[in-house]
């Protein structure tokens, strides 16, 4: 047959290496890339040729990927919301009856010079009463009072840096030590609970993400296993004519990659549609509480990460399936 070949001296002399069962490194590299392209295309076409089952798999993967991501986005939004509320968290320091305003002013100065405090404002009993009657519209009732029942209050805004629950508690204890102070009220309990809930939520997201990531691996692994079974003959022939393990593995890895990419895209689509659908009502609800809040969706980075995760999981699932099942097919 080499006689047959030599009848066609079409290629340049430099290429003669390729005519003697030897392949130059450069051309081999080119062919390698070409084979990757071909395999990638062929794997995708195979998936598209059976659209029913492929779409089902993509949807399952999309849902599995979208679930933890939904929780993650919700948590990010709650965090953002709590940050808004945090800024308004104040400590009310109630003074004992009979503390004169001069002493109260001095105390206010002392408190505002504390490290953990960014600002402190003294509200005298008269001022408080005025504000109360203006805010409630109960001026008649207020005027009917014989004496001012309200104590003097120092409104303390804590330093932003020291706003974790424990630091706030420390500050509270410190303020209680002043002799003029009757009581210190800080709405910390709910802040504490919120932090606890968010920590719990974060762990839930991770647990769910791990479980569903595992589910994605298994789904893809199983799909690839079936694909390996259905292409058993091909694998045998490829191994018989000298295909390396990498060569045999390649189409299946690409199949997994396409499954993962499709799943990631569907998950992204589900999330985007869901967030769009929710954003109106959520913003209305929040505005009822007098807060400015915009539901934040998936940023470009998070979107890419989501799709990338899908691709990685798809590839990994395929790799696991292939390394388990391919060794069993031997000519």
């Amino acid at each position: 047959m080499s006689g047959n070949k030599s009848k066609k001296p079409t290629s340049a002399p430099a290429k003669s290496g390729a005519r003697h069962s030897k392949v130059t490194v450069n051309s081999q590299w080119k062919a390698y890339l070409q084979h990757h392209r071909l395999t990638a295309k062929d794997s995708l076409l195979r998936l598209l040729r059976s659209p029913g089952s492929s779409v089902m798999t993509w949807l399952v993967l999309g849902i599995a990927l979208a679930l933890p991501m939904t929780l993650f986005v919700s948590l990010e939004n709650v965090k953002q919301l709590s940050r808004v509320w945090d800024q308004s968290s104040q400590i009310s320091v109630y003074l004992k009856k009979g503390v004169l305003s001069r002493a109260a002013n001095k105390l206010t100065e002392g408190i505002s010079s504390l490290d953990q405090v960014s600002d402190a404002i003294y509200i005298s009993p008269q001022q408080a009463l005025k504000e109360f009657s203006a805010a409630t519209g109960l001026s008649d009732v207020v005027q009917g009072l014989q004496s001012n029942p309200l104590p003097g209050v120092i409104s303390v805004v804590p330093n932003l840096a020291s706003q974790d629950a424990r630091a706030m508690e420390k500050l509270q204890n410190k303020l209680l030590l002043y002799p003029q102070v009757e009581s210190v009220q800080l709405d910390l309990l709910w802040v504490k609970r919120l932090y606890q809930f968010m920590e719990l939520g974060q762990r839930l997201v991770w647990a769910l993400a791990t479980l569903l990531g595992l589910a994605v691996l298994l789904i893809i692994g199983n799909t690839i296993r079936l694909s390996i079974e259905s292409r058993r003959d091909e694998i045998l022939v490829v191994k018989l004519v000298g295909g390396t393990d990498a060569f045999v593995r390649r189409p299946f890895l690409y199949t997994g990659l396409w499954f993962g990419l499709g799943g990631g895209l569907i998950a992204w689509l589900l999330l985007t549609i869901g967030l769009y659908w929710l954003s109106g009502p959520v913003e209305q609800l929040i505005s009822l509480y007098g807060s400015e809040f915009v539901l934040s969706g998936l940023g470009a980075e998070d979107s890419l990460l989501l799709i990338f995760d899908g691709v990685v999981l798809g590839w990994l699932g395929a790799w696991l399936a292939v390394s388990r099942h391919l060794v069993r097919i031997n000519p």
């Binding site: 062919a31 022939v237 490829v238 000298g242």
Partner: protein
């Protein structure tokens, strides 16, 4: 140096079945030989040992001076690329064209598309199927399918061709045609080993015959012995 050499090779399977026992022979570079014997005599096993589809339980199989039992698993694909194999049941892939079937070994070996097309067409031309390259193998007759298998075996220009009952299902005229193809490859220096029980055809061709019976060598006949 002998192209293929069997040194006291035995192959037994779990359960005690001895497929080959103490087989010694050599095939020289550029030689053509038939491997004969009843079914179950060990012909296929012998070919499988050369292809490393099986490993000898005893003795050594050497190809081009390389002891196959010393070959690492990762080297097996590269060994197989140097040997062209024709199977009785063709082992063609029906989900792709004739062209792609023949191109498979070249894709595996990493040929660029230009070299690949040239070589595939040359191989198809050799077996007379150039005009059917776009068809699916399933549309072709048994003889044509076998010729695709041969084209695939030779497209990588191996120096050794093995054939396992290549004429098993073919009528005498087609069988003779297939054998003529092997002879043509042999004419340009390729070593050929054909397992066959088509004794009339083998006698007519008068090449070297290696006989197997119950896993042992029996009835060796040198080339030209019948003239």
């Amino acid at each position: 140096m002998a192209h293929v050499r069997f040194d006291n090779v035995s192959k037994s399977y779990p359960g005690g079945h001895h497929a080959l026992s103490g087989v010694n022979f050599e095939i020289n570079q550029g030689e053509i030989a038939f491997l004969t014997g009843h079914s179950g005599a060990g012909k296929s096993t012998l070919l499988k040992l050369i292809m490393l589809m099986e490993k000898a339980t005893q003795g050594q199989v050497l190809v081009d001076g390389v002891n196959l039992s010393r070959l690492a698993n990762s080297q097996i694909p590269y060994h197989r690329r140097r040997v062209g194999v024709v199977f009785q049941n063709h082992q063609l892939l029906f989900d792709r064209s004739v062209f792609e079937n023949v191109a498979l070994p070249l894709r595996i070996s990493g040929y660029s598309s230009r070299d690949l097309e040239r070589r595939v067409r040359a191989a198809l031309d050799k077996v007379g199927l150039l005009k059917k390259e776009k068809q699916s193998p399933i549309e072709l007759s048994g003889g044509e399918q076998q010729r695709i298998g041969i084209a695939r075996a030779v497209v990588n220009k191996p120096s050794l061709i093995l054939a396992d009952e290549p004429t098993g299902n073919l009528d005498p005229a087609l069988s003779a045609e297939i054998m003529r193809l092997f002879e043509q490859f042999n004419d340009v220096g390729v070593s050929v080993l054909i397992a066959s029980h088509d004794l009339p055809l083998i006698d007519r061709l008068n090449h070297r015959v290696i006989g197997l019976n119950g896993g042992r060598l029996e009835g060796e006949r040198p080339a030209g012995a019948l003239s």
